[in-house]
Amino acid sequence: MITYHKPASGAHVGANKSVSQIMGQVMLAITPATAFGLVCFGWPAIFLFLITVTSAVLFEAFCIRLKGRPVKPVIMDGSALLTGWLLAMTLPPWAPWWIGVTGSGLAIILGKQVYGGLGQNLFNPAMLARVALLISFPIEMTTWANVSPLFFAHSPSFAESWQITFSGLQNLDAYTGATTLGYIKTEFSQNHILPDILQDYSALQNFIGWTRGSLGETSTLLLGLGGVWLIRQKIIQWQIPVSLLATVVVLSTTFHLLDSDHYVSPFLHLNSGSMLCVAFFIATDYVTSPNTSAGQCVFGAGCGLLIFVIRTWGAYPEGAGFAVLLMNSATPLIDYYIKPRIYGRDRQGKPLEIPKP
């Protein structure tokens, strides 16, 4: 008689959605926005992207080797690749190579592996790295390239691009400028008012992504499509993006209606900076966001509030990275206080009372 294995409990069958498939679907969702960014910012962006992603994977492999575990299965789960990818999306497209490498090192080693690897980290690795870079290297992290697509006449050639990434370009000012949010911040400091500041602003260009900004964060359209697709694929839930964006819209609408000279409209908020990238792909990181739907709503709303506060009254033009990190640190607290109600029990965990007939 054949005897079968050790006993196993149910479920004997399973949903066919593995960790690597989840990571793969997220990558698929950010591919259009990334590809658009790579085209818009040309060879330097492509170099930076490849360097960041490759070094993230290498750092991961290095850490796993240090732990003495088999490297291949861990790399194959795709999490390091995704972290590197998300980090690259949030970097200035013409940043030098060492920004990408340092960022990946910070993200993988300090952001993830020192906590114990996948699933153990408190902060979103990509945001941790981005914020650390921004504070440490403010010049490199706020030098925004003009849109200069591949194969356009005024765009840098392959050789020039190589120079931009690996040895730094001398007269960068000719190729760079401020982002919309940065420009607004500077103009406010000179007591200009919004209608004057935004004379040349094109909502459509910003919506498509034809504007200065981080490598993969410029296209509101493509990021939005990717995010909605990810919700439809049931990889992420709607709670965090919706609560985050709704909070920003409600706050900015209120202030904009009160004083439209000094408070940016909700459309501009949603249409600029890393708003959509953060709402759909960073704040929704499973590891660093709360577990329950209600907790996720609180988390998203908190992120939205902080983004609005930092953008409006803070020293930085964009506050998404800080907002996410701050709310990451609140995640254990949120999960402690917001728990699902157990069937047949009240919220305190006591059995329900038998209803009177």
Binding site: M1, S9, D77, G349
Partner: protein
């Protein structure tokens, strides 16, 4: 009135998964009823929740089909009847249909091939019988919950009557993938099932019954609705297809809007739930006097050549069932008794089918969930799918850290082992396995603690007894010495008087 309207606006279903159904290959064909009678039947004395039955036959005795082999013991128990005619070969311990395959007490019956029924009593109009009488007959027929819970049905009927329940729910959800035995029975035996429901209503003195069928079984729904059309007390409804819709408490909340408090039976809030197969068995027992000696079993899975629903005598070995259905042993990676979500894996096929066996699956490696465990990514899918509102990820973390009390504090004992969390986990973490281990371990620790407390008590009692005895002896000794002294004194006095 409000209860009647609550289905218009049913409360939402909590958690659950939409598992791939894989029912089509068995649900499309009629129940096979010409299963060749096995040479030997292995009939466990415990096929139900409660105390095992006590045998009243001797080895070597000839029995007829339907004859009582072992009688019910105590309040919660059920009798066992002969599934066919033949000779009793043995009453001894044989491997149980359980993952451990540890031996339990069974009656081995060698069939004579005649399959001859006991002379069945003439049954009158059951609606002239008293409700108590219905319960008695259901109990005597050995009927237990055939959905898999195997709680003695008569006890449930009595509880229903005592608690004046207002709604009887008939569970036709059959939410487990692969299984279609209830589906086929509803399609082929709807009149008998509806009759069984009416008898149950009579036995419980209840006015309303709701037959709830998942909306992936439209044929069963229409057939049952047609069979119930003359009985306004019985309403047949469709419910969403979502595992574990057939979990009694989920179904009760969906149908009535009421939530059963932890630690209560559903009858305490006015609802009782029975399976469709149980209703059919009730019909057979009350109308024809036939005890429960056979059941319909789904045999399915990738390694099964001819997947089917087949009615077999209880006690048929799974090996014979598999031979009949053309199971390819080389392809079989796991044998599961029950459905693939909650069923138990069995170590081999030399185990009997029992009243609880709704299905036996021979699954191939390709159908099984991967066992390649990866780190948890906190995706919270397990929280989202948990129908009981638990936090499987946190419970598993506590259990891994050996903090079993912490796991109990956050709801380990409220886990129903439905398997949704294990099913959905992208990291292939065997969550239910952790919970079952921890529950067993907690029970064992409590038992050990109980034992050590008992031992302490006994030790203390012994100490007191010894002290008491020592005290007694001391007192006796003192009394003896005193008496001796007294005697000597008297003697001395006498001697003095004499001299």
């Amino acid at each position: 009135m409000l209860n009647g309207l609550s289905w218009l606006n049913p409360p939402r279903i909590r958690g659950g998964v939409h598992a791939e159904e894989r029912k089509a290959n068995t649900a499309a064909q009629p129940i096979v009823t010409d299963f060749p009678l096995p040479k030997k039947l292995y009939i466990p004395l415990q096929q139900h929740v409660g105390k095992p039955a006590e045998p009243l036959i001797r080895v070597g005795e000839t029995v007829l089909k339907g004859q009582l082999l072992a009688y019910s013991q105590g309040m919660i128990s059920a009798p066992v009847h002969a599934p066919s005619s033949g000779i009793i070969l043995d009453v001894n311990d044989y491997p149980a249909p359980h993952p451990s395959a540890l031996p339990i007490r069974m009656i081995v019956l060698e069939t004579d091939g005649k399959d001859q029924w006991l002379e069945l009593p003439e049954m009158g109009d059951p609606f002239q019988l008293s409700p108590e009488n219905i319960s008695l007959r259901v109990g005597a027929a050995g009927i237990v919950g055939l959905g898999g819970a195997t709680f003695p049905t008569a006890v449930k009927l009595n509880m229903g009557r005592e608690n004046h329940i207002d709604t009887l729910i008939i569970n036709g959800a059959e939410c487990e993938p692969y299984l279609s035995c209830d589906d086929r029975q509803m399609q082929e035996r709807s009149e008998q099932i509806i009759d069984g429901v009416r008898l149950m209503l009579h036995g419980m003195e209840t006015q309303h019954a709701v037959v709830a069928i998942e909306d992936n079984k439209t044929n069963a729904f229409y057939t049952m609705a047609a069979a119930a059309r003359h009985f306004p007390a019985i309403k047949v409804i469709q419910i969403p297809t979502r595992y574990p819709m057939g979990w009694d408490r989920q179904l009760i909340r969906y149908v009535t809007g009421r939530e059963v408090p932890v630690g209560c039976r559903s009858s305490e809030i006015g609802v009782t739930i029975h399976n469709v197969g149980t209703a059919y068995a009730t019909h057979k027992a009350i109308r024809h006097g036939q005890p429960l000696v056979s059941r319909v079993i789904t045999v399915s899975g990738g390694a099964v050549g001819k997947p089917m629903n087949v009615e077999v005598p209880l006690g048929t070995l799974i090996g014979e069932l598999f031979a009949f259905c053309g199971v390819d042993a080389a392809q079989t990676a796991r044998i599961v008794m029950g459905g693939p979500m909650m069923g138990d894996s069995l170590p081999h096929t030399g185990l009997p089918t029992v009243k609880a066996t709704s299905g036996v699956l021979a699954l191939t490696q390709a159908e099984l969930k991967s066992t390649d465990e990866q780190p948890c990514i906190r995706c919270a899918s397990c929280l989202t799918v948990c129908p009981a509102g638990l936090r499987p990820v946190d419970m598993a973390n506590h259990i891994k850290a050996n903090q079993l009390d912490a796991a109990v504090d956050i709801g380990l004992k409220d886990c129903i082992s439905c398997g949704c969390c294990s099913y959905i986990c992208p990291s292939n973490i065997p969550l239910v396995q952790y919970f079952k281990y921890a529950s067993g371990e907690v029970a064992a620790r409590q038992q050990a603690q109980h034992k050590s407390e008992q031992t302490k008590k006994l030790m203390a009692a012994r100490q007191m007894r010894l002290e008491r005895i020592a005290q007694q002896q001391l007192e006796e000794e003192q009394a003896r010495i005193a008496a001796k002294k007294e005697r000597e004194r008297l003697q001395a006095e006498q001697e003095t008087a004499a001299s």
